[in-house]
């Protein structure tokens, strides 16, 4: 049970407080405070720390302070459309208003399409006073997203020749996805693929599985290349088996969704 509530004004103070045991350091709470009794004794509220509430637009990147609400993120003009759709489809505005971007990455069951989109796009995360920006993919692989207070999230803009696309399968248009895929593709001016990543949810025990689509890189981006790329996907996945979808179904859907995401990317680049 929360016995102490602290709202520091400076980042350094928050980081010091974060070292206390049984402490949650967060802005928002709509995703983190589900359930009646929270397993913390102290809440350090980040809402009043200016360094965590900024939004910066750089040439190729957007920087969001870790305490920015998902609604503010969504309202940012240069945020890639696929990420906007990911935020909008399953997360209503009242929850977006009181979920910080940092919280959305650190809760136990993060929003899947949002996370997949960020992972595919190679978003970066900066913790505390650390100057290093960690690739989200690396943090996901190492299960290291909860290592500290998220100071900022860096989201690349979509440049000419780039596309971030997504696809999902769900029971209804606003239901949580059974399987979803986000694919990022960058091509050169001859339509040769330079970089391609896909991030999957619902296909393993991990929240997100990121696959570097090396087979696609160096090839002309077309339907044939997409067909070749998706072929080995089922063998790379070990999906769970539950009432939402069997392993076999999830494996098949991973392929269908990846193909659709890549086809959308092909239209977009």
């Amino acid at each position: 049970m929360i016995k102490q509530y602290i709202r520091p004004l400076k980042l350094a103070e928050a980081l010091e407080l974060a070292k206390q045991p049984a402490t949650i350091v967060i802005a928002g709470g709509a995703m983190a405070f589900r359930g009646f009794d929270l397993p913390y004794e102290t809440m350090v509220d980040l809402q009043a720390i200016p360094e965590l509430n900024h939004i910066e637009t750089y040439d190729t990147t957007l920087e969001f302070g870790g305490a920015c609400s998902l609604q503010r993120v969504l309202d940012t003009p240069d945020l890639p459309q696929t990420l906007k759709q990911a935020l909008r489809r399953t997360i209503p505005r009242n929850i977006r208003n009181n979920t910080s971007i940092g919280e959305s990455l650190q809760v136990d069951d993060p929003p899947r399409e949002w996370l997949a989109g960020l992972a595919a796009l190679d978003a970066g995360v900066r913790f505390g006073e650390d100057e290093v920006v960690h690739p989200l993919i690396e943090l996901l692989e190492n299960n290291a997203l909860k290592q500290g207070v998220i100071r900022a999230v860096f989201i690349p803009k979509i440049e000419p020749g780039e596309a971030l696309s997504a696809s999902y399968v769900a029971r209804t248009p606003a239901d949580e996805p059974i399987v979803n895929v986000a694919a990022f593709v960058r091509v050169d001016n001859t339509n040769i693929v330079e970089t391609a990543f896909a991030a999957f949810c619902g296909v393993s025990t991990q929240v997100v599985t990121v696959i570097h689509l090396e087979n696609l890189e160096g090839h002309l981006f077309n339907q044939d290349a997409i067909a070749q790329t998706i072929k080995p996907i089922p063998t790379l996945l070990n999906p769970p088996n539950d009432y939402k979808g069997s392993s076999d179904y999830r494996r098949e859907m991973a392929t269908v969704c990846l193909r659709r995401a890549l086809e959308s990317a092909l239209q977009a680049v």
Binding site: M1, I2, K3, Q4, Y5, R7, G29, A30, M31, F33, R34, G35, F36, D37, L38, M43, D45, Q47, Q71, T82, Q85, A86, R88, R89, P92, R93, N94, I95, N97, N98, D109, E113, A166, S167, Y168, V169, A170, R171, T172, P173, A174, D175, E176, I178, D242, Y243, K244, G245, S246, Y249, E252, M253, V256, C257, R260
Partner: protein
């Protein structure tokens, strides 16, 4: 700690505990419009505006609001000064139970602040965070659209909710309904493609226009609900009130070997801990049904055995909810875990775990095989009819378990009053049953118990149960203190009631001409851990499954089976949705096999006017039934009008796909439904009416309005009879001390049964008024007088006001109270009928089904209030859509529920709705008040088979099992 906030424009300094959620603090400060819906903030009923933006008060610490500006509905407008949004919610009929109305109005207000001219899609997206289990969102969207236009200063005409046609002119239904942009489908965009049209009423030509009957009168409770007044069970604070919490079983089947509550009892702030060792072992059946409750009596308040995950183990009363929950952790329980069984067919096999092995339980058919009831009923000449059959068709259909999901959870407050009588303020559909059923459990006579039903935040059958009242009352008895007990959302899924899963097997004999001559239905009904409604729900399944087509020989065999899943019970439709899904899919399969048009085949066989329902006597509800004949039906017209409205004949059987996306195939489907109107020979309602000094009337009845608009409909019946506007009828219901008896709100009975009582009482009062006025004021015979426009009018033009009659009769001459009480029951249950149409898009690569449109054409007799009736149909169709499409109570191998919140258990949101259309095709049912039949449950009956029909039309595959998940469709497509 202290926080400084501005609430509704007023600066406040509040003392709070650091752990307290904003919801709790606001409610403590009497902002009761902010509602608890779930512990996850996913219902959105807890919405407030924080600095102008909607947030969930349940998932936010009050401390986080320090320094901020909070707006609750109380700050937007009061009942005497309503905001335009509140007014429009009332006018458009957007309010049913009203539980989520404050949140909907707040998110709409926030939307209009940032965007004064929103599109429908933007309105729906704004509403996405507030789940509505009642309205289907249609009228809510209309209300916001209307309010936004008024607020922009536009010249907005009076609200016209209905397009009434008496009778339907040619071409009325050839409306070129716009279909959504095909390119939207299969995209990742939020799908907000719904359009709303007015409900259409087609009336028979002989229907006379009346003053209030048939008119879209605003709900009598609408103003207080729109204003967010404290009208629900939890909207009360009592000095010294304790908070209850319940320890539930983590095991699907186990014996409690030892239970030690000493540490919990020692925790400061704990006032009582009750286990099976503390409460007398009194057997009962929890289903809220008439006396005598159907057997078995297989429950006790707290037992030494648990039979499903979520079953009761112990209860605690403590100073705060936190202490109560903390105490639960200190109760030391040693379980002997037993083998469990979840499938009803397995549960009947030799060697299966015996779920009720207690020796003293009463009324189980075969406890060793877990068979609670075995039902066998048949009618007609089996040998002769089967001999006529040229074809025999068989099919097995499986339907699953779903939850009612009323946004207001089960909530009860109990206390001793000044006369040492126990008061139970509870969100129940059956206050009188609760009083009678709880008395022996508590060891109190009925006369020492008073049950008060305030407004209810949705019920849908889930509150046709004496579910938690006994435990709360035991805690009040133990402590002497008021106690409040509310289920969490998780407990709603694990420890409340739900719809029975069933395995249904139809065997049907048909002649070569397509005439159904024999029909047999076997059902294995899964009643979970306890019997409760198990018998009656399965009997209704049998009756409904064998009545629409009324084969001359019909046979029903059923095993009602115990398993270790959380106990199903009553859920709107009460066995009919299961049976009609199987029946309608089965009938379409037969039509297909015979090469007949599905509508023609069904029309050839469906029951017609003046035909008896062959199974009516054999299958009552828990007892022998009454003979029934179809007295009125517009099923033919419903099907034809509905088919024309959806362009059935142009679309059905024609391959269609989304342009440019051949994997997205379109389909259209239909199904028909017949339901009942109350339980013949069983349901009873009573009403009292008295005349006041000013010519107004108090109308008291025991019927319980769950949000359906029943109070309004009953007031309309009284107003029409007494010649006054509805505003002159002051409604009070239901309170076992104050109002007459009523069996309660279930079986689609309120308008017909309770309405019959109101009509009788009003007729008696009318006669008294006429007699008094004739004798003392107008010096004439009573039959020369009429009541109209608040006047007693003589044929010669003289008149006196009702106020004059009231003052004279109360104060001046032959002083007496003009009042009457009447009861009503019915030996018949005239069926409403409906035709349900559905249009879908099936993604053949993923199996994902997207529902584009649902249209129901309904014969509910005369729609007393078409706006509340259409709200019933819209909301019912959406619940039925969830049943067919996405909702599912699922378990792991140990019987642990996997979906206990609204993220895992998805119910339809405003921004993903299909188009919803309602057409009333009226008949005049002579036995009903002003010609009315029922409307509440029939919308639940035919959506699932209509979707199956549409999926078949789109893809050629037939799905027999619910729900139509992407994988189930995908697997069928691969076969």
């Amino acid at each position: 700690m202290q926080i400084h906030v501005t609430i509704n424009g007023e600066k406040r300094t509040l003392t709070i505990a650091p752990h307290e959620r904003l919801l709790r603090v606001l409610r403590r400060e009497a902002y009761f419009s902010v509602k608890f819906g779930d512990e996850h903030g996913l219902t959105g009923s807890d919405t407030v505006l924080l600095d102008g933006e909607p947030v969930n008060a349940q998932t936010m610490l009050a401390a986080q609001a320090d320094g901020h500006d909070i707006l609750t509905l109380e700050g937007l407008g009061s009942s005497r000064n309503l905001h335009i949004l509140q007014q429009c919610f009332i006018e458009t009929g957007a309010i049913q139970s009203g539980y989520t109305t404050p949140a909907q109005i707040l998110v709409a207000y926030a939307l209009l602040q940032r965007n004064p001219n929103p599109t429908e899609a933007e309105i729906r997206e704004a509403l996405a965070g507030v789940l509505d289990r009642e309205t289907g969102y249609v009228k809510v969207v209309q209300a916001i659209q209307r309010a936004s236009a008024i607020l922009r200063g536009e010249d907005v005409p009076p609200f016209q909710p209905l397009e009434r046609a008496i009778p339907a002119p040619p071409g009325l239904f050839d409306v070129p309904f716009e279909l959504p942009n095909p390119d939207d489908f299969g995209s990742d965009a939020v799908q907000t493609r719904t359009r709303t049209i007015p409900a259409v009423v087609v009336s028979p030509p002989e229907i006379q226009e009346m003053k209030t009957i048939g008119k879209p009168e605003p709900k009598v409770d609408a103003v207080k609900l729109a204003a967010g007044k404290p009208v629900y069970a939890d909207d009360i604070e009592m000095r010294g009130m304790l908070h209850a919490a319940m320890l539930t079983s983590p095991h699907a089947h186990a014996r409690i070997v030892k239970i030690d509550a000493s540490k919990a009892r020692a925790l400061p702030g704990v006032h009582a801990v009750l286990t099976h060792e503390d409460i007398p072992r009194v057997y009962y059946a929890s289903g809220g049904q008439s006396y005598p409750n159907p057997l078995p009596y297989d429950q006790v308040s707290l037992d030494n055995k648990v039979r499903h995950v979520g079953d009761r183990v112990a209860v605690v009363a403590a100073e705060t909810p936190e202490i109560a929950r903390e105490a639960l952790k200190l109760i030391d329980v040693t379980y002997e875990v037993l083998p469990a069984v979840f499938d009803p067919l397995e549960a009947m096999q030799p060697g299966a775990p015996v779920i009720h092995d207690e020796p003293d339980v009463e009324g189980i058919y075969d406890a060793q095989r877990n068979i609670v009831h075995h039902i066998h009923a048949e009618a007609g000449d089996a040998q002769a009819q089967w001999a006529k059959a040229d074809h025999i068709f068989e099919g097995e259909y499986c339907v699953h378990q779903v939850q009612q999901c009323s946004i207001e959870p089960h909530i009860v407050v109990t206390w001793w009053d000044e006369d040492d009588r126990l008061v139970i303020r509870t969100s129940t559909q059956v206050p009188f049953h609760v009083r009678r059923m709880i008395a022996p459990l508590l060891g109190l006579p009925v006369k020492r118990i008073r049950v008060i039903k305030p407004r209810i935040g949705g019920g849908f059958g889930g509150k046709q149960e004496m579910l938690i009242e006994d435990l709360c009352a035991h805690l009040t008895i133990a402590t002497g203190r008021p106690v409040r007990f509310e289920y969490s959302r998780e407990q709603e899924f694990t420890s409340a009631r739900s719809r029975h899963p069933q395995v249904l097997r139809f065997k049907t004999g048909v002649t070569k001409d397509g005439e159904v001559v024999a029909s047999e239905l076997y059902i294995a009904g899964n009643t979970g851990a306890y019997g409760t409604h198990g018998l009656t729900v399965q009997m209704v399944s049998g009756f409904r499954g064998l009545s629409t087509y009324n084969a001359p020989y019909s046979k029903f065999v059923c095993d009602v089976v115990y398993t270790n899943i959380p106990t199903p019970g009553a859920y709107r439709g009460y066995g009919a949705p299961q049976a009609l899904h199987a029946l309608e899919v089965h009938m379409e399969e037969i039509a297909q096999a015979l090469g007949m048009d599905v509508i023609e085949f069904k029309r050839k066989n469906w029951i017609k006017k003046d035909e008896p329902l062959i199974m009516a006597v054999a299958l009552g509800e828990g007892r022998e039934g009454k003979p029934q004949v179809v007295t009125t039906t517009a099923l033919d017209e419903c099907v034809e009008i509905g088919a024309r409205a959806v362009h059935w004949y142009e679309k059905r059987g024609k391959p269609r796909h989304v342009p440019g996306k051949p994997h997205l195939k379109r389909g259209i489907g239909m199904a028909v439904a017949m339901h009942g109107t109350g339980i013949a020979g069983l349901d009873m309602g009573a009403a009292s009416i008295k005349l006041n000094d000013d010519g107004s009337f108090n109308l008291l009845f025991g019927a319980t309005d769950l949000g359906t608009g029943a109070d309004t409909v009953l007031a309309q019946i009284a107003a029409e009879t007494l010649g006054v506007p509805v505003e002159d009828i002051i409604v009070y219901a239901a309170d076992t001390d104050m109002t007459p008896f009523d069996t309660g709100a279930y079986a689609s009975s309120t308008t017909y049964i309770s309405g019959g009582a109101v009509l009788k009482a009003a007729e008696k009062v009318r006669q008294q008024i006429l007699s008094h006025a004739a004798k003392y004021l107008l010096n004439c015979e009573p039959d020369e007088l009429e009541l109209e426009d608040r006047l007693v009018k003589h044929q010669d033009g003289r008149s006196v006001t009702l106020e004059q009659v009231a003052l004279h009769s109360l104060h001046q001459e032959n002083q007496h109270q003009i009042m009457a009480t009447a009861s009503h029951m019915s030996e018949i249950s005239p069926p409403p009928f409906a035709a349900q149409f559905a249009e879908v898009i099936v993604d053949t690569q993923t199996g994902q089904v997207t529902v584009e449109r649902l249209l129901m054409a309904v014969d509910c007799g005369i729609a007393i209030n078409p706006i509340t009736a259409s709200g019933q149909v819209e909301g019912g169709m959406v619940q039925a859509l969830g049943y067919a499409h996405c909702e599912e109570m699922a378990y792991d191998q140990a019987g642990r529920p996997l979906a206990t919140n609204f993220r895992e258990y998805h119910i339809y949101r405003a921004d993903e709705m299909p188009e919803l259309d309602v057409i009333f095709v009226e008949t005049y049912e002579p036995s009903g008040p002003f010609g009315a039949k029922a409307v509440a449950e029939i919308p639940k009956d035919a959506v699932a088979p209509a979707l199956s029909s549409a999926i078949f039309d789109a893809t050629g595959v037939r799905i027999r099992d619910l729900p139509y998940t992407p994988e189930r469709v995908w697997q069928a497509l691969r076969k």
